[in-house]
Symmetry: C2
Subunit: 198 residues, 2 copies
DNA sequence: CTTATTTCTTACCATACATCAATGCCACTT
DNA sequence: AAGTGGCATTGATGTATGGTAAGAAATAAG
């Protein structure tokens, strides 16, 4: 239980195992069923979730009732609205499970303590934030400059695994197009002998 | 010289003034003329820039030669490709001056030292990163879900000052539309008695 | 002050993508 | 086996935004 999280903290985070044992007591592991909502718009979301197994997503719903997917979080990813936590503001997203998922519930104290205990962990955590920012900037760059097709091709390159696990309409939502449009894009690509999965 | 940066570190960053004096020796202030390029695609950008006065921007150029603006940085903002620094990868952006600008050139060591010296500064810095992430996520949400008009209205609300200082074609570029389209959007708004500046 | 250059607007047409609606497909139910 | 619901595909059509080109307006340059 919470095996991935443990190795994640050690390998990626650089947190010495001694400290993990010291901190682990405050951790909970949660099982979330497909479709279950973890956090709703307007709530104050106090926790981050580290996905042990399964797939979570965050998304907004516009006035027309349409969902727009902000982020996918498969295994070994964090998802949260930490801004909501840090600034004590109501969340702007929904958070739910795309697949049956087990996730580690991480509260602010855990991170604070981990940061206090290990300088390495602090640095790596900082790096990860920067990486996240870079990632978001790249996505913005695609959204303001690239066609639906290019965005889709980019998605395939970045998340080949998600491609198989996620319904198309969610990918469309993530890309900022309609499912119908994505279907047509795919048709076009297929006509030009493009093989995504091979 | 570097007055804003000093008060920024103190007020927003929470860095005790003692430490500032200790660190300030490594700081340079740079004058950048309108249009001058600070960093180009493919370079490794070693520095962050804190804008004392003026306006910087980061942008990409696509295959068609079109610019896409990733970020504006007016007074008291940071701009950089810290990912490029941290991961030692070539930058994906250009960085140049929209107006004549004076900026503080901040290297990695400065931040590292500041973080080492003050826990408060470290925490605030962390918060700022999260704030940046939230900000980028909101922009993504608009790009995947909102019309050109809505995005423009949002821009006005968020950056009323930039509205006046930046040529329209740059705003269009930031919003992911053409200058012509922005012009039409504005015409529409004007026809409906919308007054952005009053 | 006059001329260049850049930026903004407008009009006309082209295109990418959205919308709506119908159909087919598959996995589950019962 | 037939019914149900969620997804994907397809076609017809609508709409927002892009492309091009020209002129007006603003800004910079000489």
């Amino acid at each position: 239980m919470s095996v991935n999280f443990r190795t994640y903290l050690k390998e990626t985070g650089g947190l010495p195992e001694v400290h993990y044992d010291q901190l682990a007591s405050s951790l909970q592991v949660k099982t979330i069923k497909k479709g279950e909502i973890l956090s709703s718009l307007g709530e104050i979301c106090k926790y981050s979730f580290f996905v042990e197994e399964g797939l979570l997503r965050s998304y907004t719903v516009d006035e027309a009732g349409k969902e727009h997917i902000i982020q996918f979080a498969p295994e070994n990813w964090f998802i949260s609205d930490r801004s909501s936590i840090l600034f004590d503001e109501p969340s702007e997203f929904y958070l739910d499970a795309v697949e049956n998922t087990t996730a580690v519930v991480v509260d602010e104290n855990f991170l604070k303590n981990a940061i206090a205990l290990s300088a390495t962990f602090r640095e790596n955590n900082n790096k990860l934030l920067h990486n996240h920012i870079r990632h978001l900037q790249k996505r913005i760059n695609l959204l303001i400059g690239a066609s639906a097709e290019k965005r889709y091709l980019n998605f395939i390159k970045l998340y080949p695994d998600l491609l198989m696990r996620v319904p198309q309409w969610m990918i469309a939502s993530y890309l900022g197009i309609t499912p119908e449009s994505l279907s047509r894009v795919r048709k076009e690509l297929a006509a030009n002998n493009f093989k995504p999965t091979l």
